[in-house]
Each structure stands twice: as structure tokens, then as C-alpha cells.
């Protein structure tokens, strides 16, 4: 199949396969999310067990509704969140990644969230270099008592990502595969 694709894309160079690409990207877009009107982002949430996960649970126990877009993965502390996880999620097709930890100074492990605080800005810079929009990755401090805050964050993030449309990472990798 590679051969056909290769020839299919065989055209003058400048902007050449630029013509081939959009089609593929559209296809991929459809694969990922259906029409953007009903686009329901898929957000991976990494929550620390003690504050943020408890906060998300509180949103539940107090029946605070929010968009069904976030899929939570529990870690013991936000400091456990290896930037690799974020890249992995994006590469796997996440439209957004939400990182939540205890408020600075209130970490169950006394200092874990400071490590997160240090890694995050550098990670954001790196993501920007990869052309990933600002809004797609977000760090929020959510305490065990901030169910409402968690709900608000998810809704807000959902709104912003809806405006952006689906993440292009998976599409890009898909089109690359098509090129070979």
C-alpha cells in the first residue's frame, strides 16, 4: 500500500503534498471526532489522590454537573505525573490533558506539587514548539473541598477545546504513516 500512496502524493514539491494532506487530515478528523458541531473533546485528567481526586469525588457527592469529557487517571501525587504521560496522552489522540494537584503548600506529601509547578512551564514551552495549542494542556490546583472548582475547570476547558477542534497530533501521525 505504501507504493500507491507514495505515487498518489507524487506531485511538484512546493505545496505539493500540501494538496494531498488536507484530504487525509479531514479523514483523520472524521475518524477522531465526527463533525465539529457535535465535537466532544476527550480530555485525559491526571489527578492526585489526596486533593484533586477527592475534589472530583466531592463534585460527585454534591451532584455538581460538568461536561462528560474528562477521563480521570488517579496518581498518588501530581509529582508522579511524568511529562511523558502528557505526551503519551496527546500522541494517543487526547484533545486535552488536565493536570490537577493540591494547592501549593497543601500537598499531602508536603512538597510534591512544587515539582509539578516546576515541570509544567517547561512542558508548556516544549508543547508550544510542537505547535500544540496553549489551551490543550492545563494545570489546576484543586483541593479536596473544591468540587465546584473542578467542575468549572472541566467545563471551561471543554469549551475552549471545542473552539479549537480536535487535536492534530494523531491526525499528523496518521498522515505521516500515509506518506510512507
Amino acid at each position: 500500500m505504501n507504493a500507491e500512496v507514495a505515487t498518489a502524493v507524487e506531485t511538484p514539491v512546493v505545496g505539493g503534498d500540501g494538496r494531498g494532506a488536507p484530504a487525509a487530515e479531514k479523514q483523520a478528523a472524521l475518524r477522531v471526532s465526527g463533525s465539529s458541531a457535535t465535537f466532544q473533546p476527550r480530555i485525559v485528567g491526571f489527578l492526585c489522590n489526596w486533593c484533586s481526586y477527592a475534589g472530583a469525588d466531592l463534585a460527585g457527592t454534591s451532584r455538581t454537573p460538568y461536561a462528560a469529557t474528562v477521563r480521570v487517571i488517579r496518581v498518588m501525587c501530581s509529582a508522579r505525573i511524568d511529562p511523558t504521560f502528557v505526551l503519551k496522552a496527546l500522541a494517543e489522540g487526547a484533545d486535552g490533558v488536565l493536570i490537577c494537584g493540591c494547592h501549593p503548600g497543601d500537598c499531602h506529601y508536603s512538597e510534591g506539587n512544587y515539582k509539578t509547578m516546576r515541570r509544567y512551564p517547561l512542558l508548556k514551552r516544549m508543547l508550544a514548539d510542537f505547535g500544540i495549542e496553549e489551551e490543550r494542556v492545563r494545570l489546576e490546583w484543586v483541593s479536596a473541598s473544591e468540587g465546584q472548582h473542578f467542575a468549572d475547570v472541566v467545563d471551561d476547558m471543554t469549551r475552549r477545546i471545542r473552539a479549537l477542534g480536535p487535536s492534530k497530533v494523531k491526525i499528523a501521525l496518521a498522515t505521516d504513516r500515509a506518506e510512507r
Binding site: A59, I73, C77, Y109
Partner: protein
């Protein structure tokens, strides 16, 4: 990857989950996932039949991994771990998908909620396949206990433990025992004397051979882990700390200078109590400006001194009691302070008996008389002709000076809810029922002992209903009003409960601690020492000649900071490995 036999159990939680998530669809989706041998849903997975179902499948269908999609793991993970352990599986062969708190309770019924549940189950199935059998460690349990706070809760807990024959270190910041209760005269609803409750306890504590009391002393740091803490306590700054701990304290650990002690303890009970709301924050009441507007504690003082009188020294002909000062308001504290209503009724009785002719107006929002004997107390109070007036939430009564012509010193203007009348209440003495607040130092204490606070500063229990005295830090317990406003019986009950929990552990002699901790693969470690500085519990030691770092598992609390930071991927977080989390990521995005 070796083929597993995974059982997926979707809980309907009555209708809590089923009415939003299409459990049947989740089961159908789970059935086809690789390695899934059994997938089924049931009304209450946590019920005995539910657990028996899982156990039976493990034994009969030879399941080697279990996924339970139900409530939050913070709720029932221990339950189901026990279930599969009893059925012969390693307890860590369990993974839960939180489809209640984080799905059915926050989303409307429909495809989206169901899809989310399916994704979460998919992630759990992916992950559980990579779970390893872990054995929880047992560590020695030191039988000494540190009790923070010498109020009724702290005293009770201390006596409970000491009477059972174990050493207690009672650390009180003030220079005397008794806490807030010491400032109270009578107690509601039975009007027995607070001093009677306290005196004999304080005496017993003072003379108890197994209780060492540190007055004017505060906690400076708490290191170690359940069963094996080291607490550093020192004389509170400035405060003289009269009669602080004697010689034997020094033996219990090297002092590190005068007025400092290091205490070896196995458990900690935090019972630091509350502080009263500052009434002057509500300007409407004119507290601090109008001399005859006083707080409940100032009134208690009057009663104890036996002279209830106005600032001018006269007997009040009219007295008014204003409820919910600082409580149940959007501006200040949304919560109810729980004891004020009955205390207010108590004041009505005390006033009536001290000044028989006095007319008492009780200005309240709602009358909370839920406790034992309280409703009856409320009825009796109305029989002594207390005038109950209801004001609206966040519609504070306004207290002002009366005109010389009036037969009273003060006037309270209230929009009275029961009559829908704008009324003025005559008063010579106004008692403000100030609510309870978390102490200013509660934040420090929480941080030192590693427990969290809610938005109001109250300490958070490990489960509000099922585990009300334990905290998220193993071996640290909370009792009394530092957890939330409480009356005396509840505080005492909590104190005894905490003591009971500790005695049970001491009786066992050793204690099981979670098998989850980080470990360094010395074959992969390059000794770069990036992890060394990161551990808040100094659980990572560096072996200079081997040029390798090592984790002291007993000290490790499994936060995983080092794991994420290790650039060689040489550190593994047991039960939270990279592979397991990758599997989850792939699962939720499948």
C-alpha cells in the same frame, strides 16, 4: 503479554449508577476486551451477595484479575481488596473504575455518560492486566501516643489510652488544661456543670503515671510513619509554659536543648479544638462599640462570676440572644456551629433563674435542636416565656442604642420572618452566639502531621461517614471540634473512638502498611543523584561506593516524585508503574 482471565463487575449502585449509565452496554463493551473472562452487572456490588459473586467467579471461573466499576476507590477499594484476598487472589489484582462519583453523579443520562463509563472500564481492564502481586509490609507499632490539645477531647483520649496502660504525651499550647470547655459554666441540655465534667478529668490527667503533660508547648515537627513517629515538641514561643514536661520526657528522646523534646510515638491524636468567631466582624451588631453587646463567652464569664448585669451595673429588664453570629452566612461561615442553639436556650434558663423578671428575646434563623434531649429543652425554654424571633439568613438584625425615652438601653431591628413584620426588640443586654472557627494554627498543624483541611479549615477525615476519626495519614487521628463544630458528647465519643482505634493497633503489636512504595532498580541506576533531593521523607539514600541510590521502603510514602524525575527510568512506583499508567491512557482513549 500473557493472557489473563479478568472479571469485570459493573455496579448499578441501586439506581445511582444505573439511572444514568447503561450498565448493560458497559458489560457488553467489557466482554469483548482482551483477557476479559467474565463481565456482569449487579445491583449492589459491595453487598454480601455482590462480593460473594466475585469470590465465586474467582474460584469457579479461575479469574486472576478483577475490575470493579462502581463508586470511588476512595470508598470501597479496601472492601473489594478484602473480597478478592479472601477468595485467594492477591489484593492488588484489583482495579476500580469510578463510574459513580466521577460519572453517573455528575453527568446526565445518555450515550456520553455511558461512553465515559466504558472508557474508564477499558482503562481499568488494560491496567489490571499489568498489576503485580504485592505484599503489604508489617512494621512494629510503638505503643506511645501523642495527643495534641488538652480540651475535653484530648483529655478523654489521653485517659482512655493511659488507663489501658500505655504512655501518652499530652501537648497543650495554653498554660492550662481544659480548652474551651473550661470557659463554660453549665452545659446544655441537662444543665450540668462543665467544671464538674472537667475537674476530675484534669486532676486524673495531672496525676496519671502514664500521662506526661506538656503545657505551653507546641508541636514543631512530626517525622516517620505509622507506628514509628518522632515528634519534636517545644515550648511555645514567648509563652512560659509553666509546669512543662519533667525529666522523664528527656529520656523519651534526646531533647535537643532546654524546652525541646523529641518524642517517640506510634500514633497521634489531633484534638486542637476551635476558636470563636470575632463578633466585631459583623458591623450590624456593634460589638465592641456598644458595651452591652457581649459574646456568649463573655456571658459565660458573667454567669460563672454570679453577677449578670449590664455595663452600667444594673439588672437587665430585657435581654436578647442573637444566634448564628458568623455561622450560616454567605459572608462568613456557611456551616452551622451546632452548639449555639442549645447554648442560647441554656442562657435563657440561666437568665430566668438569675433575673426572674427579665424578658428574653431569642433571635434566631432556625432552631437546631437535633441532639438528645434538645427538643425537650427547646419546649421547656418556650414555656419559661422566651420570645423566639426568626430573622432571615444574611439579613442581619441591626443593634442600636435606644432613645433616652425608651425603657430599654438597646433596640434590635429585625425583619421578623414568622410575622413578616419589621420589628424592634427592646434589650438591655444582647448576647451574641459566636460560632466556631478553625484555629489560626490549624494550617501549620495540618501540614506538620500531613492531613488536609476543608475550605473552612476543618481537618478532613478519611471518610466522613465510614471513617470519621482517621485521616489520610496513617496513624494520625482527629477528635473533637478541630474536625468540625461539635458538642461535648460527640467530641468525647470521637476521642474515645480514636483512642479505641489506636488501642486495637497496639494490641496487634505490629501494623500493616500499604505495599505501595517506590523501588530503585540498581541495575539501571547510574547514581546521578537527581532523585536524592526530591524525597520529602528522606527515604532515598545514596550508596557512595556502589554509586547507586536506594529507597528505604519503610520511609517511602509512594508519592512518586522521584519516579517521574528519574531520567534513566530506574525507579518504579509499585502499583503506579509507567506501564500501568500508559495502559490506562491507551484505555481511556481507545
Amino acid at each position: 503479554m500473557e493472557q489473563h482471565r479478568i472479571g469485570v463487575y459493573v455496579c448499578e449502585c441501586g439506581t445511582n449508577i444505573a439511572k444514568v449509565v447503561d450498565c448493560a452496554a458497559v458489560v457488553r463493551a467489557a466482554e469483548v476486551l482482551p483477557g476479559v473472562a467474565v463481565a456482569t452487572s449487579y445491583k449492589y456490588m459491595c453487598s454480601t451477595p455482590g462480593q460473594e459473586m466475585i469470590a465465586a467467579d474467582i474460584q469457579e471461573k479461575g479469574l486472576d484479575r478483577v475490575v470493579v466499576a462502581s463508586c470511588s476507590p476512595r470508598m470501597h477499594e479496601p472492601t473489594f481488596r478484602r473480597t478478592i484476598r479472601n477468595a485467594g487472589l492477591n489484593p492488588y489484582y484489583l482495579q476500580m473504575a469510578n463510574i459513580r462519583e466521577q460519572c453517573s453523579w455528575v453527568h446526565g443520562a445518555g450515550a456520553e455518560a455511558t461512553q465515559k463509563a466504558i472508557d474508564l472500564v477499558h482503562a481499568a481492564v488494560n491496567r489490571v492486566g499489568l498489576h503485580e502481586p504485592l505484599e503489604s509490609r508489617t512494621v512494629a507499632m510503638c505503643s506511645n501516643t501523642l495527643v495534641l490539645g488538652g480540651g475535653i477531647a484530648g483529655l478523654t483520649a489521653s485517659l482512655e489510652l493511659a488507663d489501658a496502660g500505655y504512655q501518652v504525651y499530652l501537648v497543650e499550647k495554653a498554660d492550662h488544661l481544659g480548652g474551651n470547655l473550661a470557659r463554660v459554666d453549665l452545659t446544655a441540655p441537662y444543665l450540668d456543670s462543665a467544671q464538674d465534667l472537667l475537674r476530675e478529668r484534669i486532676q486524673r490527667v495531672a496525676n496519671h503515671p502514664r500521662i506526661e503533660t506538656f503545657l505551653g508547648t507546641e508541636l514543631r515537627s512530626l517525622e516517620g510513619y505509622v507506628g514509628n513517629f518522632t515528634a519534636a515538641v517545644a515550648l511555645a514561643g514567648g509563652d512560659g509554659g509553666s509546669g512543662a514536661g519533667n525529666g522523664s520526657a528527656a529520656q523519651s528522646g534526646d531533647g535537643g536543648g532546654p524546652g525541646r523534646w523529641a518524642l517517640e510515638v506510634g500514633s497521634v491524636i489531633v484534638a486542637i479544638g476551635y476558636k470563636e468567631f470575632d463578633a466585631s466582624r459583623i458591623t450590624h451588631f456593634g460589638y465592641g462599640k456598644l458595651p452591652n453587646v457581649i459574646t456568649s463567652f463573655e456571658f459565660e464569664k458573667m454567669v460563672r462570676e454570679g453577677r449578670i448585669q449590664t455595663a452600667e451595673g444594673g439588672q437587665p429588664q430585657y435581654a436578647a440572644i442573637v444566634h448564628c453570629v458568623g455561622s450560616r452566612s454567605q459572608e462568613f461561615h456557611a456551616y452551622c456551629s451546632r452548639v449555639c442553639c442549645m447554648t442560647a436556650l441554656k442562657y435563657a434558663h440561666e437568665l430566668k433563674s438569675a433575673v426572674p423578671g427579665c424578658y428574653i428575646s431569642d433571635v434566631y434563623i432556625d432552631m437546631h435542636a437535633f441532639g438528645k434531649g434538645c427538643e425537650d429543652f427547646y419546649r421547656r425554654s418556650s414555656e419559661v416565656k422566651t420570645l423566639f424571633l426568626m430573622y432571615g439568613k444574611n439579613e442581619y438584625p441591626v443593634i442600636r442604642k435606644a432613645d433616652p425615652a425608651d425603657d430599654c438601653g438597646l433596640l434590635i431591628e429585625v425583619n421578623e420572618q414568622l410575622s413578616r413584620e419589621q420589628i424592634e426588640i427592646p434589650a438591655d443586654l444582647v448576647i451574641l452566639m459566636v460560632g466556631m472557627e478553625a484555629r489560626e494554627d490549624s494550617g501549620e498543624v495540618a501540614h506538620m502531621v500531613g492531613i488536609s483541611q476543608d475550605k473552612d479549615g476543618w481537618f478532613i477525615e478519611s471518610h466522613p461517614k465510614l471513617d470519621p476519626v482517621a485521616t489520610t495519614t496513617e496513624g494520625v487521628f482527629i477528635a473533637g471540634t478541630c474536625a468540625a463544630p461539635k458538642d461535648i458528647p460527640d467530641s468525647v465519643a470521637q476521642a474515645r473512638a480514636a483512642a479505641g482505634r489506636i488501642l486495637a493497633r497496639i494490641a496487634k503489636g505490629s501494623i500493616e502498611v500499604d505495599a505501595v512504595y517506590a523501588e530503585i532498580d540498581e541495575e539501571a541506576c547510574s547514581g546521578c543523584r537527581i532523585c536524592n533531593e526530591l524525597c520529602p521523607y528522606v527515604a532515598i539514600e545514596f550508596d557512595a561506593e556502589a554509586k547507586r541510590s536506594r529507597v528505604i521502603s519503610a520511609l517511602c510514602k509512594a508519592c512518586g516524585a522521584c519516579v517521574a524525575a528519574c531520567p534513566s527510568g530506574a525507579i518504579r512506583a509499585r502499583h503506579f508503574t509507567d506501564e500501568q499508567i500508559f495502559a490506562e491512557i491507551e484505555g481511556v482513549l481507545a
